[in-house]
Symmetry: C2
Subunit: 465 residues, 2 copies
């Protein structure tokens, strides 16, 4: 693939043009550049040459046109929460910070959809929707931008019921590599009209264009919501109970595994007193009668797998406390070894292989001697391990990378994928060919080369393998 | 775009090569060619130059390579039930009949998925699955091939609950335009690993490659199933009841509208005695308690809209009779004017606009004087009209085309799409730019040109606008 030239003088001229366009909304301060050259992962920072704070589609278009003329990389930036090096400026270039494009453009309550600018965050959107009886369902934990979630095909705790970004995006506005502003999709719930460009851009991580507006599907808030935690004797039992729950068709809203190592860390960090066992965090949505029936069905299944210690949270504040503890797992892990960093990895397997995959991974972690607790959106067959390591200890990082590689290969051999939801970025490029085969990877590269012939859109990511 | 050369002598040489490859499984008989040059629609037959009956991926690959060398169009053929001219050989070429690729390759009951060859039909698959407790949910009415359904992004009566082919295809095997055999997707329920090639090929109508194998999502058969029909004073009332049902989140398995004109035709054709009013055909799936609750909620809503004449079908044979009548609607319409043909069109709008769109369309039909009853998968905002016309009467056909055009424009103006499920083919090419804008159409054309640079894969369809 073409490598954009990175001549310094050209970059300086380009930055001058950007300042003429955006005035003070162009920054080259070191702190700003550094902050925009990393996500929340272990990947080393690679700073862009400038950061542009945009306010509308036309500004994004103008920036992309200038960058195309200067053969300069363009990297869109949301909230900086990516986990596989998606925003690292591997060849330098211009970062487009979408944070000021934070308008909710329309909410069509009757159609249960809305249109937002890419910089709107999921919590901001749900705050706005609070009185409509609707909510945006995709919940990856962090307060991520909708644009970033779309670009990485994010999912999270309740994808098991409501789907991932793949299912929840109805249409997009995208600035393509030549600076053109296009729309994809319609507000109709289904369409057979031509290629599914919406799904092509969802998960493309900014390598095919900059996503500037997103039309989202919303869901009705349930009449009844009930949350619970329940303990299991081991991870296999928890995974087997999950498998049977999914196979029975119980429409779980959330079914999350935290292994005993994570529960211990959470108790220490969040001052909770959960039994320090392998645990499922659950949520049930439906009518009152429906939730009662789901709870009863789940209860019967879980007892078969020696579950114990059910704790229920019916009130909203109790449920929030429970999910806050779940979402704080990462920070709780960091607190176990102050100063450590987290090497986060995620895989996803067919549900029948979940218990095997987690159990074998746990054994692998134990043999490695690393501190690497497991958490999973297990209803989807998706789980993560965070390998905590000392950033000054190159050897542990090397061990973490090897553990990650084995974990990915294990999942792929079981018919799964190297990433359920964190994306490829630069971190998982090396696993693409093993997963898709050379033929499919070459089709992806052909599409990339056709839609971004100068290779300026977030180069070095997803298809550079 | 490139037009493949269509020199006769080259075609004859190519057919000789195909016979060397497939022996008697190449046909050039006029009857076979004619049968493979049309779907079930009003579009005139355009026959291919030869039909090849294939048995495996390697044969498809070999044919595509020969056709690429000869710059000859390749058109995949399933059951010949397409409705927008998808299989018409507009520049001649080689038809690949997938009917003998009819093996069910694997069923993973625990993961609720299966892998089939493209020629397997949906009824054949469901017959095979009968004892597993699972079923394949997408039901467009006709006993279509899974390959054809994938290629056109089909849906049908219960997409409102279980999704369309977009949601029900997990992965594909595809023979690309250079004859390479690629795989897309994994058996994991979700993945963030690279471009979503699966969704790109779903709905591409054979213009990017030949789909040879499909990994499908299956669903569990429900403990309880209940079907019903209910009458409304007019189409608006039926549509408003549907809108409210969807907004309330009742998980309807099917919610189908047939207008009074269709009910009259069905009564005459199927010897039924349904009240000749605008009618919803319904199906509820769930646990026993869940179905009872859904029925009660629907009942309350429908009474607000002056529904009457509930007729229930609990037993499987009664439900089958009810749905048979629904699926026979097209033939019932043909029988009203023996010798007529049906000009079938479908649109899909945001659910809030459904009542307006159907009511305005009905008024338009009435003003036109045409016999054009309406049927709809209204839970998705999707409805069809079949305009019955005398094939020898060019003037009525011209009127039908104008009516269709107005119907499409009305749906597009309401934020909808020119086709909810029948696809583009050649019939709806003219509506692509109005729906997607020039920019998005050009992106589609760029993808087509990149993946099929010789323009041999089902040329003249989807993006030739």
């Amino acid at each position: 693939m073409n490598r954009p030239a990175a001549g310094i003088s050209t970059r300086e001229a380009l930055i001058g043009q950007l300042r003429a366009l955006l005035g003070e909304r162009v920054s080259t301060s070191t702190a700003v550049l550094e902050q925009h050259g990393r996500g929340e992962s272990w990947h080393p920072t690679q700073a862009p040459d400038a950061v542009c704070y945009v306010r509308d589609n036309d500004e994004v278009s103008a920036i992309v046109k200038l960058c195309a003329a200067g053969r300069t990389p363009v990297i869109a930036f949301g909230t900086g929460t990516s986990l596989e090096g998606q925003v690292q400026a591997v060849n330098g270039g211009i970062c487009i910070d979408m944070g000021q494009m934070n308008q909710i453009l329309e909410v069509n309550a009757e159609d249960m959809d809305c249109r937002v600018q890419a910089g709107v965050t999921r919590r901001g959107l749900n705050q706005y929707l609070r009185d409509t009886g609707l909510f945006f369902a995709v919940d990856p934990g962090a307060d991520t931008s909708i644009g970033g979630m779309t670009a990485t095909r994010a999912s999270g705790t309740n994808a098991v019921r409501y789907g991932t970004m793949r299912e929840n995006v109805l249409g997009l506005t995208v600035v393509t590599a030549n600076g053109e502003i296009i729309r994809t999709g319609t507000r109709a719930r289904k369409s057979a009209a031509g290629y599914d460009l919406t799904r092509l851009f969802v998960g493309s991580e900014g390598t095919l264009g900059v996503i500037t507006e997103i039309c989202l599907r919303l869901h009705g808030q349930s009449e009844a919501v009930s949350a619970a935690i329940v303990n299991f004797p081991d991870v296999r039992a928890a995974a087997e109970a999950t498998i049977q729950t999914i196979q029975m068709g119980i429409p779980m809203a959330r079914i999350e595994l935290l292994d005993s190592a994570y529960i211990k860390a959470i108790n220490a960090y969040s001052k909770t007193d959960y039994p320090e066992l392998d645990t499922l965090f659950l949520e049930f949505h439906g009518t009152r009668a429906g939730v009662a029936e789901q709870v009863q069905m789940f209860d019967e299944i879980s007892r078969e797998f020696d579950a114990s210690g059910f704790q229920w949270a019916e009130r909203e504040e109790d449920r929030n406390r429970l999910w806050r503890a779940r979402h704080d797992a990462y920070y709780a892990g960091l607190a176990v070894h102050p100063g450590s960093r987290g090497y986060v990895t995620d895989v996803c397997v067919p549900i029948s292989r979940l218990a095997d995959c987690i159990t074998e991974t746990q054994a692998d972690i134990a043999a490695s001697g690393l501190f690497a607790p497991i958490v999973g959106h297990v209803g989807d067959g998706n789980f993560h391990s965070t390998i905590f390591f000392d950033p000054d200890d190159a050897e542990t990082l090397a061990q973490a990378r090897e553990l990650d590689k084995r974990m990915v290969r294990r999942a792929q051999q079981m018919g799964g994928t190297c990433t359920g939801e964190h994306g490829i970025g630069i971190g998982k490029l090396k696993h693409m060919r093993n997963e898709h085969g050379d033929g499919a990877v070459e089709v992806m590269q052909t599409i990339k080369a056709a839609l971004d012939p100068l290779n300026i859109m977030n180069p070095g990511k997803v298809v550079d393998c």
